[in-house]
């Protein structure tokens, strides 16, 4: 199983250098190259890479902005010429980051991490495959989204997102102890998420059904859900019927 890799890097010579380094890794297949965020944004959905080798400094939008614009992100190894604060903040969260010029050993380690993770993910996906009626373009719960809130960044698997809340044209994501905003509307996200997992409870909320712990009748035909985190979400009267159907009450 080859790791499908896309190189995003503005310098042609740097891309060539990366290709040369990757030549020594037969388990890596370079599926494309992009010189800036716009090119990458087109190439990523087309070539569906498992892994991005992403330079943070890009002309126009930078590497972080590229990731924010993607619905779901592949695994990411950041590359940078000079490790700055931005990268330090990431270290705990990103798969890995490499400083240029890249040392072969460091690259090998980072690739090893990536292929381990990809292996894990695939086994998980085959288990959850039966019964899942995921549409071609719908996001799976194993997909990850990239979230940036000030100096903090996260790669969050959708399975860990328990609730999404309208905040103007933005959406607030609830996961772990965090609740950052992402620059996408709730309606758009609803259209991209698996309706079997993410249920539109009301105009305000999209709930991850796997996180629901308790359901109780609320006034005038509505329902109140209690999530495993203790958070409570109301299901509007209109949606309550759909919820009952879905849960086959």
């Amino acid at each position: 199983m080859k790791v499908r890799t896309l190189i995003v890097e503005d310098s042609r010579l740097a891309r060539m250098e990366m290709r040369r380094l990757l030549d020594g890794h037969p388990d890596v297949e370079v599926v494309g190259e992009a010189g800036n965020a716009d090119e990458a944004e087109i190439l990523i959905p087309e070539s569906q890479p498992d892994l991005l080798l992403l330079d943070i400094q890009l002309p126009g939008r930078n590497g972080f902005e590229l990731l924010e614009s993607l619905d779901s992100v592949p695994l990411v190894i950041f590359t940078t010429a000079y490790s700055e604060f931005a990268v330090q903040a990431f270290e705990q969260n990103a798969l890995d980051y490499l400083v240029k010029p890249v040392e072969a050993d460091r690259l090998a380690k980072a690739l090893q991490k990536a292929s381990n993770l990809i292996g894990q993910q695939e086994s998980r996906e085959t288990i959850s495959e039966e019964g899942a009626i995921t549409g071609r373009s719908l996001l799976k719960v194993t997909d990850r989204v990239f979230v940036k809130d000030g100096e903090h960044c996260w790669f969050v698997p959708l399975s860990e997102v328990r609730l999404l809340e309208v905040e103007g044209n933005y959406t607030r994501l609830f996961f772990g102890s965090h609740q950052p905003l992402i620059p996408k509307t709730l309606n758009y996200l609803e259209s991209r998420l698996d309706p079997q997992v993410f249920f539109r409870a009301s105009r305000q909320h999209l709930v991850n059904l796997n996180w629901v712990k308790d359901v109780e009748s609320w006034f005038s035909g509505s329902l109140r859900l209690t999530l495993r985190s203790g958070q409570q979400v109301e299901v509007s009267r209109r949606q309550a019927q759909r919820f009952r159907d879905l849960m086959s009450f």
Partner: protein, 357 residues
Amino acid sequence: MVQWRNNNAATPSPDDSRRDPNHWFFQTTFWLCWLGIGLFFTLVYGKLTTKDFIAMLVLGIGFLLLSELMGRYMTRRSWDTFRSQAPRTLAMSVIASLALQVMVDPVLVIGFHIGKWSEVFSTKAILGSTMHGTLVLWCWGSIYSGITLRRRYQRSEMARLQLEAAVQAAELRALKSQVNPHFLFNCLNNLRSLVAEDPERAREMMLRLSELLRYALEVSRHERVALEQELSVVEAYLELESLQFEDRLHWQFNVTPEASRAQLPPMVVQQLVENAIKHGISKRPHGGEILVRGSVNDGALLIDVENSGQLPASPGSGFGLENARQRLRLLSGELARLTLSNRDSDHVAATASIPLS
């Protein structure tokens, strides 16, 4: 709050007058030694009576109090050198020993019924007590000032070393800011790739990099260079940046012969061009061009660096314009000017005016 202020007011605490942490150790040791020696001689040459012992104890307390006063006075006055201090310490000791008698004798005569007024005020007794007191206090004062001077010397030595370190750190920072690490590491990475692709050109580019680094590291900020020389380094820099940007970077120099001979502080044009790339060209997916103009006008050298791009609508602090301005003033004097503005809808220009001395 109030208490803190009161405490602070009670102790005169400019750094210098702060007491030695071992002060009381010294005081105790010194005066116990004095007492010990006194007791020893009394025992050897006669019989120690309770009265003698009390007299010595009272005298000792008197010495302690007076020496304490002397110490405070000496510290407050911050007497300079050991040599100028010795006679003054002697004079002070004479006065202090007289004061000691005025303090201690009434206590002994009235309080403890030791001795008689007529004995105490005999010329012989006064002379003897003064000589003894002066000798002891002078000895105390000399040791005390020795300790104080040594401490002060150590402290000033420490301050000197700290200052030296601060200066070195500042110089290092200046040096670092001259070589942009982002540029340097990208450049090395591109060179590494070029070695495989076009070894001859890679060899050439390594020369350009050494030229740039040598200039940035060796030229001192007090020196002046001809614009011509600076521009040849800028050219080397742009060629190296071309490894990164390739056909996304174009440049042109337009300098009058008079201007190319004009002298200016090193790295001034280089920094302007570097900023034009950092904030202009590198932000644009399709790159752009850089135009460098040089002319002499009204006894000032005018450098104009224009690049594709636009200033952001709200001028943020990110451009470090104020930094660049300060740096230019530092290097070229208070009359130097630096402005940054949109030249047209697609170009930004940085203009520096450097007075020619």
